[in-house]
């Protein structure tokens, strides 16, 4: 942040927040979010229906209304670096009730997509990717389950990519097409060593 008035650094830092609009605003961010989410966060009038509908809000500092506001103002860094971004359970209650016909849930999903582009993502999401890359399943089979399946008269492995591993190749192709596996491996390695 440029020091425009020669304030001491501590004060400069305090004042930084009030200058959000000038220094951190990215109008492109608003447009990108709208494109990915296919909804209209710029129409938000901040009534709070979304936050009040949200199962996560009462037990955390997550406020979906705040994220929509950040989308509207183009506050990209603030939106994408906030760890609360990952507390949306995607229950779509806010979307059902929003009087302005915005889909706040999809706004969150779009922001998560953009965060991933900056390598901001919780590791558990990437582990799902790794699991699917190997087996085609996010929650793979195990031996206890195989035994139980057999007892029920079902094949030990279901007729999915588990039973027909040749199909895993197609899945790997798609994930590689988007370089998802590569990025997932890299980020997981960076985080966990």
């Amino acid at each position: 942040m440029a020091r425009t008035k020669g304030y001491p650094e501590a004060l400069e830092k305090k004042l930084a927040d009030t200058r959000l609009y000038e220094d951190e605003r990215h109008p492109e961010f608003t447009k990108t979010v709208e494109k990915i989410s296919m909804t209209i966060p710029h129409m938000c009038y901040q009534c709070g229906t979304c936050t009040a509908s949200c199962p996560s809000a009462p037990r955390s500092s997550y406020r979906i209304r705040k994220f929509v506001r950040r989308g509207l103002l183009g506050l990209e860094d603030e939106a994408l670096t906030d760890p609360d971004l990952w507390l949306c359970t995607t229950c779509y209650s806010c979307t059902d009730r929003c009087p302005r016909d915005i889909a706040p849930t999809d706004v969150i999903m779009a922001m998560r997509n953009l965060a991933f582009k900056r390598d901001i993502i919780p590791v558990n999401f990437l582990k799902t990717v790794q699991a699917i890359y190997t087996t085609g399943h996010g929650v793979p089979n195990n031996d206890v389950n195989r035994a139980a399946r057999k007892k029920l008269g079902l094949p030990a492995d279901p007729p999915t990519t588990h039973g027909f591993p040749k199909y895993v190749k197609g899945i790997q192709y798609i994930l590689d097409y988007f370089e998802l596996k590569k990025n997932a491996d890299r980020i997981v390695k960076e985080r966990e060593g």
């Binding site: 996010g138 929650v139 389950n145």
Partner: protein, 296 residues
């Protein structure tokens, strides 16, 4: 006999095989034959993949859809999460030319093309639809009525919401699943805030387990208030969150509820005379014994 390609997903076959087994058998008794959808994968998980990159989500779901298109069969499935991925991507790709072209560009690499020739259904909606099965037919198929039990319903989120894109009508006070529970001879029970999310979705279960369990815990408190014998749902992921979640809640919060949680197909299986062994109810985290005692 109507035939559908049965999209299994992950959790039902790999954690609750009883739900899978029950689906085949109960559906068959109601005139629906579920066929293997060979080579299907994870739907993929809408929370995880949708959060990372929606384009991957579209492409992966489209691959599963194309498998069914090649079979020339509509898809039936038993999981709300799968419904979101498979139904919604099918719907979006059918209506957005740009998205469809993008996805087909990817699928070209594995010799596939999304054409948009099939529809996607949740087995529960096929059961409820009087043109296909209907409540009366369910009632007629019952051999062991679940009389004397109080059962609450958890609808889950991704089947019916967002309301405008779906076709289920109200998402504030739905009662169609209660009707299906009543058809089994049980008493459907209303409880506070029944449309509240289970807490697992959107990757939250993996990201912040305690947070997600806290939501589940709120549901459990509301359910206990209503004095129910069991909870039923149509989503194995919700089932996992309620069933295994109760154990985790006990670990983290020190509260135990011991409320049996059954997929509607399992419940239907019981009512149609399947044994608990045939439903692998012993694989559940929470014992179904107290409930079974009331029924059998």
């Amino acid at each position: 006999m109507r035939e559908y390609a049965f999209f299994l997903g992950c959790i039902a076959p790999n954690r609750y095989p009883g739900a899978e087994s029950a689906s085949y058998k109960t559906a068959e008794k109601l005139g629906i034959k579920l066929l293997d959808l060979e080579g299907a994968s994870c739907c993929p998980a809408p929370g995880a993949f949708g959060s990372i990159d929606l384009n991957v989500w579209y492409a992966m779901a489209a691959r599963n859809l194309v498998l069914a298109e090649q079979m020339k069969k509509d898809i039936a499935l038993i999981c709300n999460g799968c419904y979101k991925s498979i139904w919604e991507v099918n719907h979006k790709l059918k209506h957005h030319k740009e998205l469809r072209e993008g996805v087909n560009e990817v699928l070209k690499g594995i010799d596939m093309e999304f054409k948009g020739t099939i529809d996607v259904w949740h087995l529960a909606e096929l059961f409820y639809d009087p043109a296909i099965v209907g409540v009366q037919k369910i009632r007629d198929s019952v051999k062991v009525p679940l009389t004397g039990t109080r059962i609450a319903v958890h609808y889950g989120c991704h089947l019916m919401k967002p309301r405008k894109e779906r076709h289920f009508g109200t998402t504030e006070h739905p009662t169609w699943m209660e009707e299906m529970v009543a058809a089994l001879g049980a008493e459907p029970v209303e409880y506070r805030n029944k449309m509240l999310c289970c807490g697992a979705g959107g990757g939250v279960r993996g990201y912040d387990l305690v947070h997600s369990l806290d939501i589940t815990n709120e549901k459990m408190i509301n359910l206990m208030e209503a004095k129910v014998d069991a909870l039923t749902e149509v989503c194995p992921f919700c089932q996992l969150q309620f069933d295994r979640g109760q154990i985790e809640i006990q670990e983290k919060f020190g509260v135990s509820y011991n409320l049996p949680v059954l997929h509607y197909c399992e419940l239907l299986g019981l009512a149609q005379g399947m044994t608990p062994q045939e439903l692998a109810l012993d694989l559940h985290g929470i014992s179904c014994e107290p409930f079974l005692k009331k029924v059998l």
